[in-house]
């Protein structure tokens, strides 16, 4: 083979090789064009821990952001948190978490029933497997992260409610101190309440005028503290009216309240030594609806023209209607409610008003029992502790020390 032929062959070989390289590059380019937008990287360092302070129905999943979340490809828009009940089982999406977030709380505490089966229910002491997929703005998902498991644990104590427990213990301690002191005969001063002091005069007025007394327990249920406070005042008023042989009318709006009110008044008459004067029809159910109840009570006020009206319990929009109608009927009116929105109406329209906690304290004031007064003092001292906390907290936060908030923050 002469030199020229060799040269031509070498050149042809080089051309073929170069063409192959270019062809491969072109193929690769063509291959790249058919692959599509780049997939983001998955998040890393997944941890799964029990959600605290619950009955074992939740897990907290934490992770480190994908390298392409806010950096790198910068194309992550959300994370799909997926769960399965076994490491090799089918993973289903629990929720989508926006980019930048590093935590998801998975809770499923609705127990399955025959009517509403809940396959996602997480019972206590159950193990769940999680993996997370990062999703890009081009609808491309990353490969799934590592699979990490966690077990739900039924917690014995709700640490988030610790401040409430402290409050109860502080109050309980004051209660014990003052009740013990009261039982030993220590005299306890409580400030006078005009509304309470007027109760006897109001009952006397009704007796002199020969008119009945109207006692309204409001629209609360028998479980409401305001209604219970109303029962205690009703008991004292009924006993006094039994002694003075004055009629007391008690229209009620709730059936359980009726049962308790009837028993309260009946026992009061019994204790006053006048059981024969008790008329069960004087304590009667009217209706369970708000405004029909108001209409009925207004009618009673305008027909019976009671000399004294007591409003002790839970009231809503009807408070002013009742109080003004009582005013039209010419009655002296003593009111008390813990519904803060209705207090201004009672203050404007009735003669005496017990504001909020004063209604609850009425029982202690009327009975003057040392133990009852002791609980009042305990209440006042606890309030003083709360005021100290408020002052300390205000100063601390003003000077940029929010740590005190952790002492009083309740995490439900």
């Amino acid at each position: 083979m002469n030199q020229l032929t060799k040269t031509i062959l070498i050149l042809m070989l080089l051309l073929f090789m170069g063409g192959g390289v270019f062809a491969q590059a072109a193929d690769e380019e063509a291959l790249v064009d058919t692959i599509g937008p780049p997939a983001p990287s998955p998040p890393t360092n997944i941890t799964v821990s029990d959600k605290p302070n619950d009955a074992g129905h939740g897990l907290i999943i934490r992770w480190e952001l994908s390298p392409d979340d806010g950096a790198g490809l910068n194309n992550v828009i959300m994370y799909d948190v997926m769960r399965s009940d076994s490491p090799d089982g089918e993973f289903s999406s629990r929720n989508l978490v926006p980019s930048g977030d590093k935590v998801y709380v998975d809770i499923e505490d609705t127990k399955p029933t025959e009517v509403l089966p809940n396959p996602d229910y997480m019972p206590a002491n159950s193990t769940w497997y999680y993996r997370i997929v990062a999703m890009s703005d081009q609808q491309v998902s990353s490969v799934p992260s590592e699979t990490v498991s966690g077990t739900t644990i039924e917690n014995i104590f709700h640490w988030g409610k610790l401040p409430i427990l402290f409050g109860v213990l502080i109050f309980g301690s004051f209660l014990i101190i003052f009740i013990t002191g009261a039982k030993k005969g220590k005299e306890l001063y409580v400030r006078p309440l005009a509304g309470i002091n007027a109760v006897d005069d109001a009952i006397g007025r009704a007796t002199e005028m020969g008119k009945p007394i109207l006692f309204i327990l409001g629209l609360g249920t028998a479980g409401d503290i305001a209604t219970i406070a109303g029962f205690t005042i009703l008991a004292r008023v009924a006993k006094r009216t039994a002694e003075y042989q004055t009629r007391v009318l008690v229209p009620v709006q709730e059936a359980v309240v009726l049962a308790v009110a009837q028993e309260t008044v009946r026992t009061a008459y019994l204790e006053a030594g006048r059981p024969d004067q008790y008329n069960p029809d004087d304590v009667f159910f009217v209706t369970a609806l708000q405004f029909p109840y108001v209409a009925a009570v207004n009618g009673i006020m305008l027909r019976e023209k009671p000399a004294t009206n007591f409003y002790c319990g839970k009231f809503y929009a009807e408070s002013l209607i009742l109080a003004e109608t009582g005013n039209i009927a010419g009655a002296i009116q003593i009111s008390g409610t813990d519904e803060v929105a209705q207090l201004p109406f009672f203050v404007a329209a009735t003669d005496y008003t017990l504001l909020g906690e004063e209604l609850y304290a009425a029982s202690a004031y009327l009975s003057k029992e040392p133990v009852q007064l002791g609980t009042l003092k305990a209440q006042d001292y606890t309030k003083a502790v709360v005021m100290v906390f408020v002052i300390i907290g205000t100063i601390a936060i003003t000077f940029g020390l929010p740590y005190i908030l952790t002492l009083v923050t309740v995490n439900l």
Binding site: N95, I107, T110, L116, A317, V340, A341, L412
Partner: protein, 279 residues
């Protein structure tokens, strides 16, 4: 008895007559009242306005016929604004009388804006126990409401595709005359942190401004005045702006009576002290 003494003991029926005329006269001779918008109402308007077309808001209609006069106008104004923007609405009611209110609203406004149930809005229905219902909806709307009010499974409604719970809607507006606002605050915003605003009756508003101040609510529409302000913002004059004229006159009459009573009080007090001084 002097004039001032008579004024001190005026028969209340004159007061009732004056108030009666104060609400009847604007009905016979209607007039417009310029309304200045308060920031807490404007924030709700801005929230709906900044919601994109096709996004979702959640409205809880929790009032009964007795409060309809005060709350229906604000609900109408919000829904008008949302429908005009093409925002999808998820309705629910936690009040036993609320279903009738939602039906009235949707029947009227969906027809007006050519909106289709299941595509542009959905009404989940009513469930008792607001706290439990709110917490269940925070997990998945389908837990307390597997189907909507009309019995259609939620999963078969086009607009519920991909919408699971409160975190998939922009925010919640509760329109209420009862205590459901407290449940939304405690079990909704308090527990899950989603944006919450309320529309309430005027008498309730004093109780809820503190939640505005603490940031638990991003807006409040208080009573008829709030409804009138919202209607002014959305340029959809309705019952709110109609009723505000009655409120203006009635309030003016009440203020006038208060002034008269105080003038009479001071006049009679001065007379009594003069008599006392002379003795």
């Amino acid at each position: 008895m002097t004039f001032f003494e008579k004024m001190m003991q005026i028969d209340r029926r004159w007061v009732y007559l004056a108030i009666g005329l104060a609400v009847i006269i604007p009905a016979i001779i209607p007039f417009n009242v310029p309304v200045s918008v308060s920031p807490e109402v404007e924030k709700i308007y801005d929230f709906v306005d900044s919601t994109d077309t096709g996004d979702y808001i959640f409205i809880s209609v929790d009032y009964d016929p007795a409060s309809m006069a005060e709350l229906h106008p604000m609900a109408t104004a919000i829904i008008n604004q949302a429908f005009e923007k093409g925002i999808k609405i998820v309705f629910v009611t936690l009040s036993q009388f609320g279903a009738g209110m939602v039906e009235q609203l949707t029947n009227e406004l969906a027809t007006k804006h050519n909106k289709v149930v299941g595509e542009d809005y959905v009404f989940l229905g009513y469930r008792p126990y607001p706290a439990i219902t709110i917490m269940a909806m925070a997990v998945d709307f389908r837990v307390p409401f597997p189907s909507d009010y009309y019995g259609t499974p939620l999963d078969s409604l086009p607009m519920m595709n991909g919408i699971k719970n409160f975190f998939d809607v922009k925010g919640v507006i509760d329109i209420t005359s009862g205590n459901t606002a407290e449940f939304w605050l405690t079990y909704g915003n308090g527990r899950f942190g989603f944006p919450l605003a309320i529309g309430i009756t005027g008498v309730m508003s004093a109780d809820y401004y503190q939640y505005l101040q603490s940031g638990q609510l991003f807006g409040i529409i208080p009573g008829v005045k709030g409804a009138a302000e919202y209607e002014t913002l959305v340029h959809y004059p309705g019952a709110g702006l109609d009723q505000i004229s009655y409120q203006v006159i009635a309030h003016a009459v009440i203020l006038l009576f208060i002034i008269i009573s105080n003038v009479a009080y001071f006049a009679t007090r001065r007379k009594k002290s003069k008599i006392g001084g002379s003795i």
